[in-house]
């Protein structure tokens, strides 16, 4: 049994979970979304090494919406780095019918705790409040 990614919340800190691509590869789409949202509900910042597929992102938005509750959970903030242009245009990869993993660093956190989530070309910067 693998250890839970979301461990006990410390009372005066913000927990950051960095989840490897390898760990996500072992999960079904809904398990990935559940792991992310369970972490975010606990007030954690979740960082995915390899991000989600477009279909999983679509489901993440849908499930997030279903779980929004007034005064309890306002939804998520999310920022990603897209795949590099060279990977996107890999002719061989496309011919082989394999675009490879999304491989995009993704930062997700609770909307009511992330005061700003800023992205520029090489940096994602999050300002997080503790409550």
């Amino acid at each position: 049994m693998m250890p839970e990614a979301t461990e006990k919340e410390t009372p005066d800190g913000v927990q950051i979970d960095l989840i490897s691509g390898q760990r996500m590869d072992e999960l079904a789409s809904m398990e990935k979304i559940r792991m992310i949202l369970d972490g975010v509900h606990a007030g954690n910042i979740v960082i995915l090494e390899e991000g989600l597929t477009p279909d999983e992102e679509s489901k993440l938005i849908e499930v997030t919406m279903a779980e929004i509750s007034p005064d309890e959970f306002n939804g998520i903030e999310i920022e990603t780095y897209p795949r590099s242009a060279s990977k996107d245009s890999s002719l061989l990869g496309r011919l082989m019918g394999n675009d490879g993993p999304p491989a995009k660093l993704t930062v997700i956190g609770p909307a009511n705790q992330i005061e700003t989530l800023h992205k520029d070309e090489t940096l994602i910067s999050a300002l997080v409040s503790r409550n």
Binding site: I61, A66, I68
Partner: protein, 212 residues
């Protein structure tokens, strides 16, 4: 020869029937809240059917249910293109009822936010299951490079849906169509003001060309 001509005519008639009976393509109008999606849907519907689709408002999440206007016939260059227009709720990753409490009571704000979340989920479902093409509407006075826009364009591309990007609100001083065209260079960007009816000829030319 006679038999051949007859056979050719028969095939031609069958082909005509096949295409004339084809269901109109469902074109989803997507974008973030307050980009002017319903104003655009109403403009298109009024121009070609005489009816409106939904209520417009400056308060975000006025559209909280996907609404379809069927059989909108758009005439371009002697040809008619028939589409169904689906006006969808603005997509976001967060909804806070306190955003609406300046404009309404807390109870109404909570109800609006609950309906808004259901609407966003519905819009995502339509995108995955039920649309054949997308008009992605952006407010050209706002920065287009947001996570929601990037994610949604990525989702649309992954489903191989034809997409047109509409740079709306060109009547505003802060509008920048170039900023949108540069953010999504892989897609055709069409400038317009749905509210003022500016550049609608180019809008309809592009709709007919992309979705006809």
């Amino acid at each position: 020869m006679g038999l051949f001509t007859e056979l050719k005519d028969s095939i031609s008639r069958a082909t005509d029937r096949l295409f004339s009976e084809q269901e109109p393509k469902r074109i989803g109008i997507y974008g973030p809240p307050n980009a002017g999606k319903t104003t655009l849907a109403n403009r298109i519907a009024r121009d070609w059917t005489g009816d409106a689709i939904g209520t417009e408002s400056h308060i975000p999440h006025e559209t909280r249910r996907a609404r379809r206007k069927e059989n909108v016939e758009i005439e371009r260059n002697g040809k008619t293109v028939t589409i169904d227009i689906v006006d969808t709720p603005g997509v976001t990753t967060k909804v806070d009822y306190e955003e609406f409490t300046d404009e309404m009571s807390k109870d109404d704000a909570v109800r609006r936010s609950r309906e808004a979340t259901e609407g966003v989920a519905e819009a995502m479902h339509w995108l995955r299951e039920d649309v054949d093409g997308v008009i992605y509407v952006l407010d050209s006075a706002e920065d287009p490079i947001t996570q929601v826009n990037t994610m949604l364009i990525g989702i649309i591309e992954s489903r191989d849906l034809p997409v047109l990007i509409f740079a709306n609100k060109i009547d505003l001083d802060e509008s920048s169509v170039k900023r949108i065209a540069e953010a999504f260079p892989q897609h055709e960007t069409v400038p317009l003001s749905a509210k003022e009816g500016e550049n609608m000829d180019e809008v309809y030319d592009n709709i007919a060309e992309y979705f006809g």
